[in-house]
């Protein structure tokens, strides 16, 4: 990233010199793209530079996943069986959804401790409405999710308008909504859900037709390629640097391999799980929201500098409230998936290590705790790690206490990696 600074000192001739130098510098291709044009060797150089600068991205978590797979597979060959992987990907959706909401809050540099309790409360609301009050299930589901959004917005109000620390507000929320859930569930403490109903089907329905899984994989790969290709063509037309075609093809092939591998695996068991489809839809949707809309840009801006955002005319209060509302909404959706998994709403919903797992998943996936950096796909990777470990330990019949300790170890490792990479990035001028 060396810049030609020599002409800056020649003030007298700045008109001639600077315009030329600037023309050269500004039209120069993005250095990150330049290396990619050198083919495979270029990628290696680029990779080394990124490692040195501490731009690890999702690399640690992918390495972690591979390590987890190798260890548990060597201990028990059932770990990488189609059934186990299918179970893992269905189970993880509940926690994963909550984690998506957490990513939004972490992007602001804040924390939401209430998501566990809110997820429990919303499952209780849905169960009471659907089973005790006889509402149609779709109405109960919509109401429960809306309740989650309103609850989150209320937390956001106390934080953004009244200025109370988000940590304290959502800690109060954690207790309040736990109490609310217990109150709502009443004396029995458990409401069984109709396993053939809408909520029940969330985690039990599979698209048994093999075409479904392959079709989804094909559509995803094709859409990715077409959008990348068209965006590159637009960039070329506008005369700004674009990714070389080889890069787009490489990425498409990688995505294709992963998604078709998953499709083959699903088809060996029960087929494509509905839960996975819904999770993917939400991930694509939230990723689009965060990276392609001005709302998402505002969220990132707030995570970078509140003062800069305010001066840029961003309504800080509104964005903050909306982010907590999103977090509450995803907590509610996650709660419904968790209730679906056990086909009931009970008193233990949303308690235990759920909150910690949801936050850990976001952080393990690569979302920074310090705000301003992360993607909702991080939630997918992180929750995959956490649930894989849980299933692996379960196969080895390792007891709950040890599971807690191991998950804690993984979380601590991740946070340490996050902190160290931030330090390296600072020294490399990229923090």
């Amino acid at each position: 990233m060396s810049i030609d600074k020599t002409s800056a000192t020649a003030q007298d001739e700045h008109e001639v010199l600077n315009t030329e130098a600037a023309a050269a510098a500004v039209t120069a291709v993005d250095p990150r793209l330049l290396v990619q044009e050198q083919g495979l060797a270029g990628y290696l150089t680029e990779f080394r530079r990124k490692m040195k600068a501490g731009e690890l991205g999702s690399l640690p978590v992918i390495v972690g996943l591979v390590v987890i797979c190798v260890i548990f597979q060597s201990l028990n060959s059932a770990f990488l069986s189609a059934q186990n992987i299918s179970d893992i990907t269905v189970t993880m959706v509940g926690t994963g959804m909550i984690s998506v909401g957490i990513v939004f809050v972490l992007l602001l540099g804040e924390i939401d401790l209430s998501v566990g309790s809110v997820s429990g409360a919303s499952s209780a609301i849905a169960a009471v409405l659907a089973v005790n009050q006889g509402w149609p299930e779709w109405a109960a589901v919509l109401f429960a999710v809306a309740a989650g959004v309103v609850i989150g917005a209320a937390h956001g109000f106390f934080f953004a308008v009244l200025g109370a620390p988000a940590f304290a507000v959502t800690l109060a929320g954690l207790l309040f909504w736990l109490g609310f859930m217990l109150q709502t569930l009443g004396e029995n403490g458990t409401i069984n859900l109709d396993s053939d109903g809408l909520i029940g089907k969330l985690t039990t329905y599979f698209f048994t037709d093999v075409a479904a899984a392959y079709g989804l994989a094909a559509v995803m790969t094709a859409v990715f390629f077409i959008t990348s290709f068209l965006s590159n063509r637009r960039r070329d037309a506008a005369g700004i640097p674009s990714r070389p075609l080889s890069d787009t093809i490489l990425r498409t092939v990688l995505l294709g391999v992963v998604s078709f591998a998953a499709a083959i695996m699903y088809n060996q068991y029960k087929g494509l799980p509905l839960a996975t489809v819904i999770f993917l839809v939400f991930l694509v949707g939230t990723d689009f929201l965060l990276r392609r809309t001005s709302y998402g840009r505002k969220v990132f801006a707030l995570g970078g500098s509140v003062e800069a955002s305010r001066r840029a005319g961003i309504n800080v209060t509104a964005v903050r409230i909306s982010v907590f509302a999103i977090s509450g909404g995803f907590a509610a959706i996650g709660g419904l998936f968790l209730a679906s998994k056990i086909a009931s709403a009970n008193q233990s919903a949303g308690t235990g290590d759920l909150l910690m797992n949801a936050i850990a998943a976001a952080v393990i996936g690569g979302t920074s705790l310090f705000g301003g950096r992360g993607r909702t796909w991080n939630a997918l990777l992180g929750v995959l790690v956490i649930v894989s470990i849980q299933y692996g330990l379960q196969l080895e019949s390792i007891a709950e206490p040890v599971k807690y300790m191991i998950t804690a170890g993984v979380l601590l490792t991740t946070v340490v990696i996050d902190s160290i990479t931030r330090k390296t990035q600072k020294t490399a001028g990229r923090a």
């Binding site: 990150r32 970078g304 990229r430």
Partner: protein, 263 residues
Amino acid sequence: MVHVSATPVLALRGVSKRFGAVQALTDVELEVHAGEVVALVGDNGAGKSTLVKTIAGVHPIDEGVIEWEGKAVSINRPHDAQSLGIATVYQDLALCDNIDVVGNLYLGREVRKWGVLDEVEMERRSRELLQTLSIRIPSVRIPIASLSGGQRQTVAIARSMLGEPKLVILDEPTAALGVEQTAQVLDLVERLRERGHAVILISHNMADVKAVADKVAVLRLGRNNGVFEVKTTSQEEIISAITGATDNAVTRRAARTTGEVSK
């Protein structure tokens, strides 16, 4: 020399501002023409920042008149100033470290197509803007955190240019910069002048003022203490106006004679 229009873009006539018991500005006069760099200098507490904030709409004035292109206007909110065509670059740059250059330039006024960010268009326009201002940065797609202080300053100034303002106010743009970076920013200030913008430059650095400003307006204790043509004024004269040495007849005479000598 650049052509200077007859009607000033901005003129302050007898502007006063009070904060409780403190009289921050008293009967201040200031004129800025298109294509002119006016340096606003003065000691700490002289009222520079207050004056700039009244122009930028942060503090409404108590007395006096603000004329914009010859017509009296009232500037009560930052929004009023912006819609007139006044852009202010504050000392703390108000950029988001985690967002790239394009994102920062367009923060709060993103270009959208069917409700979706039009990154291609924003990047194209950013490159165009940086090119016309001869701003040199490694890439428009790297986060602000990777840029040097001088580059950040130029990005902040470029950001203020997006709304095609008629008047740009720069609050100590070179305060925290090294020699080369200062030169880059001063180059940029000259380019703003060449493009016909009126510029108000607040600075403590006399060398910078001498280098780029056309006129120097000195504030002392919230009052005007002279407006000097940079070309015909020595640095000592400006400094004595800042420090208040002109209050004394002897130093005034001394300053005048040294001024004549230096000419």
